[in-house]
Structures are given as structure tokens and as C-alpha cells.
Amino acid sequence: MVVSRLIAKLQRYEGWFGVAAGLLIMVGLYMGLVTSSPDYYQGEVVRIMYIHVPAAQSAMFAYTVLFGGSLWYLWKRDPVVDNVSHAAAGIGIFFTLIALITGSIWAKPTWNTWWTWDPRLISFAIMLLILVGYLMLRTFLEDKEKEATYAAILAIVGFIDLPIIHFSVEWWRTLHQPLSISTRGVAIARDMLIPLLLMSIGFYLLFAYMLMVRTQMLYLQHLLEAKRGRMLSKVHL
């Protein structure tokens, strides 16, 4: 139960994570939206990057936490870790949606389309589908341990599949037509890099804060259900 003790310790500083996330995001937003210079090619449009990129990073981090938690749950059967995975999935959907929506808005002026069959777009859309499927599967299973085990299996299989999906789509697109843009090897100016870094760290901290709050909430929910169950059985006796 190493992990659950670590989580309990971290949760004592929960509020600080929230405060730090709020501060970093505020400073980052100010620098990104006001003081940083517009992009040479894209102009002011590039400022959506300060939301889009950190959201996408946090979404991927959320799925990584979900994957790690699922593996750990199958190994050690720690219900606290299952709550963490469950929470990470819901927050992952939130960040994935932000990344997809801001990406779509960004794509319209730069690529002149809301949606293109780009590997990153498709991988994120499929990640969203897997996460939604994960939460749906959880709601349909009644037994708590069964729910946790089945959901963990789905998360692991999906996580292993995502890179394969990404590469197969990338391959498929490059055979048909070259990718619209590639961000690889693009140097980024310093006054853009600093707000981006601040926003990234801020979003990671925000994710950590949300994860702790939501884990706590799920724990209380299960506690409540267990108490209700006990009270019901007393009434029936």
C-alpha cells in the first residue's frame, strides 16, 4: 500500500497545488496573451497555442497516470489506486476535449479547415473515445472489484493500442498526401517559450490538483454507498 500512503501524504498539500496552478496559469496567460510577440507567419492566431499545447500534454499525462494506475491495480489490488485511475480518466476527457476544441479553432485560420485527418488529431479523437468507453464500462458494472478490474484491462489495452493507431494513421496519410504541417524541428522564440513552459507546468499542477480532489470525492462516494448498504441491511433485519 505504498502508493496509497504516498497519495494520502500528497493530499495534505492539495490546496497548494491548486494555488500554484492558478498562479502559474494566470502569469502564463498574461505573458502569452499580452507580452509575448505574435508569430511571424501566423500572427496573433498563434496565441491559442498557450492553451492548446498544455491541454494536450496534460491529456496525455492523464492517460499515462490511468495506465500506470491500472497496471498497479491489477498487481496490488489497491482500491485507492483504482480511484486515482477512475479520476484520471474523467479529467483526461476534460483535457482531451479542450485540446481537440482549441486545435480545431487553431486549424481553421492556419490549415483552412476545422478538421483534417492528421495523425495527432485522430489519435486524440480515438483517445477520447477510449476514455468515454472506459467511463461507460465502469457505470455498467455493478460489482466494485469487477468494475475496477475490467476497467483496468480496457485502459491497458487502449494505452498499448494508441501508439499503433498513431503510427498507422501517420503512415496512411503520408502515402496519400503529405502532412499539412509538421512541428518537428521548429525553433521557438524565447518570449514564446517562457509563457508556454509556465502554462505547461500550470496545467500539470492543475491536473494534479483536480486528480486529488476527484480521488477524494470518489473515495467519499464509495464510503457513502457502503454506509447506505449497511444501513439498508439493518433496516431489513
Partner: protein, 225 residues
Amino acid sequence: MHFFNVIRWIAWKDLLSELRSRENISSMFFFALIVILIFSFSFSLDPKTSKELMPGIIWIAFGFTGIIGLGKSFLAEVHNDCMEYFQIVPAPKGAIYLGKFVGNALFMLIVEIILFPMFILFFNLDVLEKIPMILLIFVAATIGLSALGTLFSALTVQIRAREVMFPILLLPLAVPIFIGAVEATRGVFSGDPLPLYLDWIKLLIVFDAIFMVVSFWVFEFILDY
């Protein structure tokens, strides 16, 4: 050789009960036939466009057929209370998975092989010397679909919304199979030289290997509950 005997007997049991009832294969077959017909109506296929759309139509038909067949894979076990026996039987759990998987893959392959002449007929295909390559693509894609499908069938069989949840979980994860199978089929029928589409077949084989191993490993946890 206990391990392989378990695989053989479970696959044999599924085949035998299917041979006696013919429920699964016949429903899969007619469903796929209807899918092909609907597609030819909705695209009003002339010979030129039909050549372009054909690989996609083949794999949509096979994919949907797979969903019909694979989703029911564990239903009979639940109805006859066999899931409990799977839990207590002194056999490796992975072998039980492989047995179900072999049975499912064989069903799908049988349906695909029955359906294939229909495609030759409808789309006026020229196939004779291409048959070994086509068979290889069919086998590689079917193994991948059945590997994931058997696992998800076991995951979803005991929940209320089984018919909805099974495709929702399976289809997003099966994207690489569809891309690989469609591109390889297109390559074969447009008469491309082998090196142009060999990579797609390799993708299918890699996918099969990864998900057979992963499913084999996680199946044990499903049967624990």
C-alpha cells in the same frame, strides 16, 4: 500437452455447437450480404467507382459481421453457467482464451471465405493468381479482430448494455486493422507490386502478435471475477 489440449477442446466445442445450430454463421453471412447490398444502393456503383470503394466495402462488411459474431462469443457460456466452470477448471486461463479465440477466428474466416465469391461476382474482380495474397490478408486481419473481439466479448458479456458497449469498445481500438486491411486489399486488387503494400501486411501481423500476447495475459484477470 495439457495447454494445447485445452485450446483444442474449447475451439472444437464451439465449432461443434455451431455446426449443429448454424445460428452464428448464417446470421453473420446474411448480415454481411445486406451490408454489401446497402452499400451498392447508397453509392450507385458504376464499374470505375466500385473498384475504388471495393476494399472499404469488403472490410466494413467483414468488420460488422465480426461484431455480430464476436459479441455473442461468450453469451452461450453465460446462459449455460459455464463462466463459473471456466473459473474453477484446472486449466491455464490463457488456454481458455486461446481456445475461444481460435473458434472465433475460424467462424469469421469461414464467413469471409463464403462471402468472397459474392464480392468477385458483384465487383467483377479478377482474382485467380491473387488468391494466396488475399487469403494471407484475410487471415492476418481476422486474427487481429478476433484477438481483440474475444477479449472485449468477455469484458462486456455480463453487463446490461452488451450490444452497445461491445462495438463502442472494439471499433476505436481496431482502427489499425481496418487501415492495414483496406490498404493491403487495395494494393492487391490494383495490381501493385508486392513491396508497395507489404508494409501493411506487416502492420497487421505486428498488431496480431501484440494483442494476442496482451489479451492472453489480461484474460486471467477477467476470469477471476
